[in-house]
Amino acid sequence: MNKPVRVVHYINQFFAGIGGEAAANAPVTVRHEVVGAARALQAALGGEAEIVGTLICGDNFFHDERERARHAVREALRSLRPDVMVAGPAFEAGRYGIACAEVCRVAAAEGVPAVTAMHPSNPGVMMHGREVMIVPTTASAAGMPQAVPPLARLALKLARREALGTADSEGYLSRGIRRVGYRPEPGYRRAIDMLLTKLNGRPYVSEIPYQAPAMVEPARPVAELRRTSVALVTTGGLVPKGNPDGQTSGNAQRYFRYSIEQLQSLRPGEWEAYHVGYFTHLVNKNPNYVLPLGYMRELEKAGVIGSVHPYAYTLPGVSTPVAQAERLGLGIASQLLEAKVGAGLLVST
């Protein structure tokens, strides 16, 4: 039998039994014993682990006095020196869920592995689901008996620094990490079996669950176009002829910035598109198809826009991981903001 691991359990005022909403302002209290809902966790841990401290905090206190609360948790962890921190389960309680997730982050920063539990729609998941280990629960606290055992099991694994298996096999919510691995059956069999299962009305689990892409708050419209400088950006991989800066044909690692200040239009023979994702010869014959400078100069002369930004930005938008593309986009945007550019046109191939 392993030596019992040391566990600290973070719970809110309600699950500590000190009150409901009225006690939500309770500051962080450290009790060197098992309190309230921590008893259920201790029971599930059995003799393998000992809850050496229960941290109790009112949900409002954690929200309103975040720094004080985090500091108190940090101090408690330093003095209690647990092998793992467990927070919640928070079920669908939003403030509690966010607090649990944040407490787990504090623990991780202190080098203490941590795990929490809440309903998948709890805002704590959306805010911190990438960094924090979260066990899914029912929405209602009536699901406590089902929530605690997987939470305890994961806590023990983390405490013992054991390697973690997949989200499905271990029972935690995916943190957006995907890794290669082998399944027991080849793909074609899994596919046809899944189809028959689906056709026969039986439950099935997609190997890639639907993940909605992040939406973006729209920027305010341009107030006065004729006073605005507009930048041209393209992911068509347009570079000066000869590709002097060695832009790759895909998997963009950086973006490129070229001065177009002296140019009225992009002339074929002076530019080329270097990009493995589309037939580039038409753009080579007429670079304005992806960087429409000629049209923009006309509009600038006619006073429709204030000016064309002196720099054009380009990169090869193909075979580029989304995270990388985001970084590059942010980079371009911050340069444009610094240059007080008012708007951008991005031509995508």
Partner: protein, 75 residues
């Protein structure tokens, strides 16, 4: 954003999306001949500028008006 395959842009976070012609020639169409190609290109750009000055609440497609300029590849 000006794109010929605008659906992807609209569903992955771009809020002002202008329909381009074809991936291989987004801001124009060489099959139209130089003059009409230029007219079409200008129409796309002015539509884009119009989009910049338009209030939007979420992903919105701006379609350059005028005669259809897409050719369909099919045998």
């Amino acid at each position: 954003m000006i794109s010929a395959i605008y659906d992807l842009a609209l569903t992955t976070g771009a809020n002002r999306v202008v329909r381009g012609c074809r991936i291989e020639h987004v801001c124009g169409n060489p099959d139209l001949g130089p003059d009409k190609d230029r007219e079409y290109g200008m129409r796309i750009i002015t539509t884009a500028l119009q989009a910049l000055t338009t209030e939007v609440s979420g992903p919105t497609l701006f379609d350059p008006q005028g005669a259809s300029t897409e050719t369909i590849h099919a045998s």
